[in-house]
Structure formats: structure tokens, C-alpha cells
Amino acid sequence: MQLFYSILYRDLMLAIRRRRELANPLVFFVIVVSLFPLGVSPDQDLLSKMAPGVIWVTALLATLMSMDAMFRSDYDDGSLEQLLLLPGPKILLIGAKITAHWLSIGLPLIVLAPIMSLLLYFPTHAMGSLIITLLISTPILSLLGSVGIALTLSLRSGGILSSLLILPFYIPVLIFSTMAINASVNSLPVSGYYALLGAFLIVSALLIPFAVVAALKVSYN
């Protein structure tokens, strides 16, 4: 476990050192959310009906867009090779990288999302479920995204291709989260959706790192 903490510490230090890069997904999120009222219509009840979906799709795209930061810089300057050769289970290395990515990209999004949802007349009594669904699901987005990035690491056009590979896997997360928010907007029972999302998180947290290790082996072949 010492390996996990040292890599986590290293990645967070690098993330802080690259603060300006961390701002990109947040700026992207703000701009895209404000496009919808301009594009569709500023009418209140239409926007508040659309708000959960818009917030969620934009958060999903912002995470996907910044997924590159996870392995790309380490792959390019050769330090990923050194990390892969560290004695110790590779799963810890992958887990640390994904946690670092979630902390540096996912958390700021969770903080920003409620604020941006006000722009879309988001019913404030459902704000709690918006934050809970984001808290449970953004780690899933990072986990699934890491497979896409690991597979396309050695390719020049890796970024776009990895989004194409991974978006279909985001669909269940999107569906359950938006349904949970809609349920809480109409003050229906919500715990069922949270349980499903939680189960999805646990399953992917257990299985996905093995796929990422295999994918990194393929990228290095």
C-alpha cells in the first residue's frame, strides 16, 4: 500500500504543478452548460426539465476530455515504464493513478456542477441527489475512461479514439444518474438508483484495473 500512497502523492503534486491544465475541464463545463439556454430556449420550465440531462452529459464529456492527463504525460517522458517496473502489484499503481485523476478532475466538477445547475433553473430541492449521483458516478467515469486511454496510449490519434471506445460504456451511468435526479425532483424514492450506481462502482473498481494492466501491456508491446 505504500506504493499506492507514494504514486498518489506524486500525481497530486504534478496535478497541482499543472494547475492551469486542471482548469480546462471546468471552463469547458461552464461554457457548454451555458450553450444550451442559448441554443434551445431560455424558457424556464423547458430548461428545468432538461437540466439534469444537460448537467450530466456535460460533466461526462468534461471528464472524458481530460482523461488524457492520466497516462499521457508519464508515457511520453518514459516515467510510466519506470512505474510499471516497480516491484509490487500493478493494480495499486493503476488504482493510484485513477484516484489521482478523480481527485484532480472529478471533485472540482462536483463542486462546480450545483452552481452551474442554477443557470438552468435546476429545482433546488433535488440539488442533494445531483451531488450524490456525481459523487458515486464520477469515479466510474474515471475507471472506464482509464481503459480507453490505456488501450490507445501508443497511437497518435489516441485521444479521439479512446472517447469513441468508452462512450458506450458511459450510457448506464448516465441513464441511472439522470433517472435518480428526476426521481428526486418528483420526490419519488431514490435509494434504488443509488444502490445500482454503487454496485456498478464496486464492480468496475474490482474488474477494470485488471483490464487496464492488460491494456498497458498491449500498449508497450
Binding site: 517522458d77 516515467s79 519506470q82 517496473l85 508491446n221
Partner: protein, 216 residues
């Protein structure tokens, strides 16, 4: 080149043997049925034209990439089976200087010591001194020259306790006096029963240590 004369090398426990190694790049066969064996105190210098597959061979030996055919065994055990134990004994410095340019020299050296704890408890300043960068400890690595970056990545040689060193062009971009330092460090490593595999385009003087050329 140092004359190759086999001292009465007492058979130490460590031995690296490769059998019928084959490697492909794209659909082209890079090399086929490659055999070599290396024991303690020996150095193997791989030479070959550009694109002959030197780096691919090194990556196969470290276990980073799998060969199309053939096995590499460390103390008669396939390295895929004993990956963790083998990697404990392995120090690999690749073509790229694995140095984070966002961090300062001190932070990079601290990371090195954190990931590869060695019993030699010298401080960061001593390590920086041995690679000749002690005045630039707080300089961000983005402002270092290629040679200086290479020195930072070679810092591991001075604190490493691993038995097997695999170095991809260690002398690349280095100035003359630091090459001497690296050669001396390599000689000490070989003298203390260590093993080394390295690729280089220029001559390397290993003193009276046993070494042999492996042509690819």
C-alpha cells in the same frame, strides 16, 4: 575495447539466460532465435545498427514487452513467473529520461529515493553532488539541458542496490568527465558481483571487468 579475459569467475548464484528469443515490429521479424547467457560480474554490450531492435531487446529482457517466442530465465526461472522478485533485482534506465519537467531537481531526486528506497542513506545533497547538479537543486527541470536531464535520470545508479542493470545508451548526451564517472560507477557495480546489459554507440571503458560484445 577492454581485452576480454575471463577471471576465475566463481559461479555466483545469479544468472540471466535467454533462449530462442524472437521479436516482431509491425509484421517484420526484428531478430530470431537469439541466445545469450550472463552471470554475476559480467557486462554485456549490445551493438547493432539503428533500428536493429536493441531497445526492443532490452524491453523484452526487463519484461515490459513480451517476445513473440522464446523465454528469458533469471536463476533458471522464467521471468514472467517470478516477475515481482525479478523486478526487485532490476534497474532499467530507458532511452527517455524519466524525469518530470514540471518538478525541480530536488523533487525529482526525492521521488527517486521514495520509489527505490536504498539502504545507502546518503542525503539528497550528496546524490545531487554525485551527479554534479548540487547548485541546481531548486531549478525546475524544464530549464535543464538534455545532458543535465540525463544526469538526473542516471542518479539512480549511485543509490541502486539492484543486481541487474539494464541501461539503454547510458552515455548519450553526456559530457566527457561525467562519462568517466558513469564508467567508474559501472566498474564498481560489476566488481561487487553485479550484472549489466547496456547498449552504446561509442566505446565504453569497463577497466578489467569481464564484458563481452553481443551483436544484433
Amino acid at each position: 575495447m577492454s581485452a576480454i579475459h575471463q577471471q576465475s569467475v566463481i559461479q555466483d548464484n545469479c544468472q540471466l539466460v535467454a533462449k530462442t528469443l524472437t521479436c516482431e515490429r509491425g509484421s517484420r521479424i526484428l531478430f530470431e532465435n537469439l541466445e545469450f547467457s550472463l552471470s554475476s560480474g559480467q557486462a554485456m554490450i549490445i551493438q547493432g545498427s539503428n533500428g536493429a531492435g536493441k531497445t526492443s531487446l532490452l524491453r523484452i529482457i526487463t519484461g515490459l514487452s513480451q517476445p513473440v517466442g522464446g523465454i528469458i530465465s533469471w536463476n533458471q526461472q522464467n521471468i514472467e513467473k517470478i516477475a515481482e522478485e525479478f523486478q526487485k533485482q532490476l534497474l532499467y534506465i530507458g532511452h527517455l529520461a524519466a524525469v518530470k519537467t514540471e518538478l525541480t531537481v530536488r523533487e525529482n531526486l526525492q521521488l527517486l529515493k521514495r520509489f527505490w528506497p536504498s539502504d545507502t542513506e546518503g542525503s539528497i545533497a550528496d546524490l545531487a553532488d554525485s551527479i554534479g547538479l548540487h547548485q541546481r537543486l531548486s531549478v525546475s527541470c524544464s530549464r535543464l539541458s538534455a545532458g543535465q536531464l540525463r544526469r538526473v535520470s542516471l542518479a539512480r545508479l549511485f543509490i541502486s542496490t539492484q543486481k541487474l542493470w539494464i541501461l539503454d545508451e547510458p552515455l548519450m548526451a553526456l559530457d566527457v568527465d561525467f562519462i568517466g564517472v558513469v564508467e567508474k560507477c559501472l566498474q564498481n557495480h560489476l566488481k561487487s558481483r553485479g550484472m549489466a546489459i547496456l547498449t552504446t554507440h561509442r566505446g565504453i571503458d569497463l577497466g578489467e571487468q569481464a564484458s563481452f560484445i553481443f551483436d544484433l
